[in-house]
């Protein structure tokens, strides 16, 4: 589908597929579908309730289907929609990419992945192509602000278009055919957002620079960041932040002056843009995971060298944890380090910018 999105006096073309439709198509055509360890019998439901949200000590996590986010969402969905309503988990990935070999044309891609489909190690599908908005030609604060507002608004409106059916289904649930399971009432939830920090702040409509609270999930002051006092930072109040953004977005439509948004930026480091993800149930409603679903795009984080620095400390950490036996959970310490090195080598081969779609995003 394509739609022309008009912002101010400019028009942008957005090519997209409905995320809900993509997820349902993937479930209908999949060979292997799993909804995690969702109990299907009343006894299993009772046992799961007794066990609560805590896993056993010997529980070994195998993937996102037994991650805390998915398990919490499953419990919440079962509480609201019944014990036989599984969670349709969707991951979202957003990043800018080259679309021409000459390196002159960029496009912002939105990809989605259904975590319940286990075929071929899960496949990402591109669900949106956003038009790239160039920098302001005029080097003035007003022109830069206009471009920034246009970029943020275009991103959110495009996301809202792609997620419209998904948003509605996240509240009501949807009955669809699932390969191997028949007709199932599914409750879609957004479980992971794979982005860099720049895209993270944009998608959550938070300020990306010259702000006080750089952390999305908490209110750690930048002056205390990394210090001992920063540990005591409280979690971000998503209701206050979203309400402020909603009110400021309404106000911005009439008066886009920077002075009108200064208080919002000072108090929440937020932009006067409404994050479209806030309409999805499970993010702005219980269990309130809007600021918890952000995950690293390791392809980029590794390139930044952060994990490389961490990896240099891993041998000492593993040796101290495993003690004299040198046995890690999945083998010896040396085997674990070899696996890490291999993974790093594989990631390193994807450093070069390429217009072809990435083969995978490591979670």
């Amino acid at each position: 589908m394509q739609v022309t999105i008009e912002i101010g006096d400019r028009s942008f073309m957005y090519y997209y597929r409905d995320v809900m439709q993509v997820a349902l198509d993937a479930l209908a055509g999949a060979e292997t579908v799993s909804f995690g360890d969702v109990p299907s019998t009343p006894a299993g439901v009772l046992a799961a309730r007794d066990a609560g949200d805590n896993f056993r000590d010997e529980h070994e996590r195998r993937g996102i289907l037994d991650a805390d986010l998915y398990v919490d969402e499953s419990h919440e969905v079962q509480r609201m929609h019944g014990d036989d309503a599984p969670v349709l988990g969707v991951q979202l990935h957003a990043d800018e990419a080259l679309v021409s070999w000459s390196g002159s044309h960029y496009m912002f891609l939105v990809r989605a992945n259904v975590v319940n489909v286990l075929d071929n190690g899960r496949q990402w599908q591109t669900v949106g192509y956003l038009q790239h908005i160039s920098k302001a030609v005029e080097q003035s604060a007003r022109a830069k602000l206009d471009v920034s507002d246009t970029r943020n608004e275009l991103l959110q409106r495009c996301l809202s278009v792609s997620l419209r059916a998904f948003t509605r289904a996240s509240e009501e649930g949807v009955t669809a055919h699932v390969a191997g399971h028949g007709s199932v009432q599914l409750v879609p939830r957004m479980v992971v957002l794979v982005v860099d920090q720049v895209e993270e702040r944009s998608i959550l409509a938070l300020m990306g620079n010259r702000c006080r609270f750089f952390c999305s999930p908490c209110m750690e002051d930048k002056d205390l960041s990394g210090g001992l006092l920063g540990v005591r930072a409280v979690d971000r109040d998503f209701v206050t932040t979203l309400e402020g953004q909603l009110a400021a977005a309404v106000l911005r439509a009439d008066d886009p002056r920077p002075s009108r948004r200064r208080d919002l930026g000072r108090a929440h480091s937020a932009l006067p843009i409404v994050p479209a993800l806030g309409a999805i149930h499970g993010l702005a409603t219980r269990p309130y995971d809007l600021y918890c679903i952000v995950s690293f795009d390791l392809l980029h984080v590794w390139e930044l060298g952060i994990l490389r620095l961490l990896a240099q400390r891993l041998p000492a950490v593993l040796l101290s944890l495993c003690g004299e036996t040198g046995e890690a959970r999945l083998g010896s310490v040396q085997d674990t380090l070899d696996a890490l090195n291999l993974r790093g080598f594989e990631l390193g081969r994807n450093y070069n910018v390429t217009p072809s779609a990435p083969g995978y995003v490591l979670m």
């Binding site: 589908m1 394509q2 739609v3 999105i5 809202s160 419209r164 509240e171 977005a249 309404v250 009108r260």
Partner: protein, 304 residues
């Protein structure tokens, strides 16, 4: 015609000290200079509240006989006229409007000076939609489905529950805002609590109606023609042409690839009089390129 109305002299108190000001910019300047550490939004909110309490002077008889705004439905016009002209007389109507409420945006910001004598209902729409309603309260509500109508949902006049919504709608048919809200709520699932942040964000983006303006990238008619890649060999050739190098072959490479395949077939079937599948399906190399594009269109038309 009603005589021209005059807005009474109004003093806006500073929320941080005992001073009062006649104009909002004066208050803003005072807060900026004397209360640097205080929230300017609080001052703006105080000014907004003070302005909303200003009353309209005029002849009661003239106001009672003044016709309602044109282009409105009968019930909506009556309700809106009641909310504006009789605002200082009819306390019940005022209560209804105030329940509908002014969004926190007004509390957190300040209304432009030229909106100070705007009627409350129009002010609600201004705040709710974020669009200027300077065309006046007399303009007709847009038809259902247009970007402006759903914007009413964004306001803070939210119902706490469905029961409250239904009760309000049934009890007060003259409330134009409530009637419009009931119509708009038909689009939402029945158990949506409009007071929730998620529902308000969803309603905010429903205003833009981008999704309803979406069109298919490829017309539906492309989905009907049968594929010309009907054998495994041809499917393999198509797959290679579309995926080689990650993003597929260029158009020139498509033609060169088809020429190579046709040449191989001709060499293999030389002297036998048999035509290979590639040559039979695509009489020319450019035919392969065209069929590939058609196949892409077919897939795009099928997938929505």
């Amino acid at each position: 015609m009603a005589p021209p109305r005059a807005v009474s002299a109004l003093l806006i108190p500073c929320p941080f000290c005992c001073l009062s000001f006649r104009k909002q910019p004066n208050l803003a300047r005072h807060v900026q200079t004397s209360h640097r550490n205080e929230s300017r939004c609080a001052a703006a909110a105080a000014a907004s509240v003070a302005m909303s309490q200003s009353f309209v002077r005029g002849s009661l008889a003239a106001m009672a006989s003044a016709p309602g705004p044109a282009l409105l439905a009968v019930d909506a016009g009556a309700a809106r006229a009641a909310a504006t002209d009789n605002r200082d007389l009819n306390l019940d109507v005022e209560m209804d409007v105030s329940i509908s409420g002014v969004a926190p945006a007004v509390d957190g910001g300040d209304a432009p000076p030229n909106e100070r004598d705007m009627d409350v209902a129009a002010a609600t729409v201004v705040v709710a939609t974020g669009h200027s309603a300077r065309d006046g309260a007399g303009s007709a509500p847009p038809p259902h489905g247009t970007p402006d109508d759903v914007g009413v949902l964004v306001g803070d006049w939210l119902y706490a529950s469905d029961e409250e919504k239904d009760t309000d709608a049934a009890a007060d048919d003259n409330n134009a805002t409530g009637a419009a809200a009931v119509d708009l709520l038909a689009d939402l699932p029945r158990h949506v609590f409009l007071s929730s942040t998620a529902a308000r964000i969803r309603a905010y983006y429903l205003v833009f109606s981008d999704t309803s303006q979406s069109t298919p990238v490829v017309p539906r008619r492309w989905a009907s023609p049968p594929s010309r890649f009907c054998s495994p060999a041809l499917r393999g050739a198509l797959r290679f042409a579309l995926t080689a190098g990650g993003c597929g072959l260029t158009q020139r490479d498509h033609v060169a690839y088809a020429q190579s395949l046709r040449a191989v077939e001709q060499e293999a079937t030389r002297g036998t009089g048999v035509v290979g599948p590639m040559s039979a399906a695509f009489p020319s190399a450019h035919g392969f390129l065209t069929a590939t594009r058609h196949e892409q269109n077919c897939v795009l038309a099928t997938r929505r």
